[in-house]
Subunit: 272 residues, 2 copies
């Protein structure tokens, strides 16, 4: 299917037919999912495929009993590795071999990647959730392309899941994704599509100035829009001295230089 | 393009041609991106489109000087709202109106969503990063479908960005995405595609048993695979009493019941 049609055709389906999902289809879907981009191509994702009755019941229990976990023939648990450098050897060897970087650039990039190991666990959870969610979205499109319905689920007890499925240290359960063929009478296929916030509302050209309250809510008793216009002196300008509180990397200029040279390795052209 | 081709055709491009990207194309891409699923359909995403020269330079500065930020005609800053309940009124009114839920189910779902406001900021950062990354991946496919190349970037100073662009409280910059037409000689178009960890390695059927070291690294001096098989008594079984440390929701059975009833609202069939 053309992507323009697929993106609108894909919906999150909660009710599944009794048909099984065969292993070849699951693997074909995952083969496309892993083309997703990731931070430094580090690919922190892992997929647990849960299809046996007893295991779906165990999974449902840690997912607050949500019915689609046993209704769907298969639920994937999408994990993210919390160690950013877990696959650094292969990732950099590949880029040197194919001509993306020379050895010096690879060495400096390795330092940047290994430095991420020092981030707090909170930062590494966000880091792995981002790359892993990119793969999860690709997976849902790849499934729908084959007529396989999915539903992403964030509502589960992560720590209970880790214990129940004996997950080794260092893997974050990021998302559950149910998979199967939609029931003919599934609400998510037969009812009108759920609304989306309009593009005009979520898009901001050059200046980030979102509506900070849900002012367009079509319900009675909505809150007033309490956002007041900021005075010009509250806007950041390049003239105002900045006291940066760096979250991702220390402000060390050594590390900044290392980061820049790693990103702009000699194998990459710089034309401006 | 068929998705099966598109998913392999899309690559992260670092070098861009001088051609501009027009506003209509950007809006058409975003119109497809927002079909992405999100937690409870809460759609926490916002997009700042940065294309003016001075603004691209400001953005490049908070992105550690990475050259693609000024090389590309446009970079999007993809933000995630940290307040899960920001759009709850519209989201639930829509689902009642279209027949997905009745009023009682909507009220109970509202309680669950508003309870997420009590999560720590660390949890809400992970929460918003997941839904927002789903939209970012959709955006990159929608762009490629139109011949527009993208590159997602996680390497930027989030706090400096928030200050430089006067971002209101409560929005997390999740990802930068450069957009434009690929340079003819872009490495990312001409060199062989970067490797992906094989599906057989990242997929685990019924039991989560990943390789915990990078044992397949094709480089000298790699670490030995130090993972030892676990004894059976280290595996979680249903017979072993569990001391769950709930991360996402307190173990209160009241709240669990509320969560279940919200998810399994009366408008949804339960067939097993």
């Amino acid at each position: 299917m053309e992507f323009t049609d697929l993106v609108e055709d894909r919906r999150s389906v909660h009710d599944y037919a009794d048909d099984d999902l065969d292993r070849e289809t699951i693997e074909a879907i995952l083969r496309e999912a892993v083309y997703a981009p990731s931070s430094y191509n580090l690919q922190p994702w892992e997929f647990l495929v849960v299809g046996e009755d007893a295991n779906r019941e165990r999974l449902q229990e840690v997912a607050y009993g949500q019915p689609q976990v046993t209704d769907a023939p298969v639920t994937l648990v999408v994990f993210g590795r919390l160690d950013p450098a877990a696959h650094v050897d292969r990732v950099l060897a590949d880029q040197v071999e194919k001509g993306y970087r020379d050895e010096a650039s690879a060495a400096s990039t390795r330092e940047s990647i290994e430095a991420m190991r020092e981030y707090s666990e909170a930062e590494r959870r966000v880091w792995t959730a981002k790359s892993t969610a990119l793969a999860a979205m690709s997976l849902m499109f790849a499934a729908r392309e084959r007529g396989v319905a999915t539903c992403p689920m964030g509502g589960f007890d992560a720590e209970a899941l880790v214990e129940e499925f004996a997950v080794p240290d260092g893997y974050e359960p990021v998302m559950l994704v149910t998979m199967g063929y939609a029931a003919e009478d599934a609400d998510d296929e037969t009812l009108p599509r759920k609304f989306r916030r309009p593009v005009e509302e979520v898009t901001h050209f050059e200046t980030f100035d979102p509506e900070t309250t849900d002012a367009r809510a079509p319900v009675a008793g909505r809150r007033l829009n309490r956002r007041r216009p900021r005075a010009p002196d509250q806007r950041a300008t390049r003239l105002r001295p900045r006291a940066r509180r760096r979250r991702l990397l220390p402000a060390s200029t050594t590390r900044l230089r290392r980061y820049r040279s790693a990103r702009a390795g000699p194998a990459r052209s710089r034309r401006r």
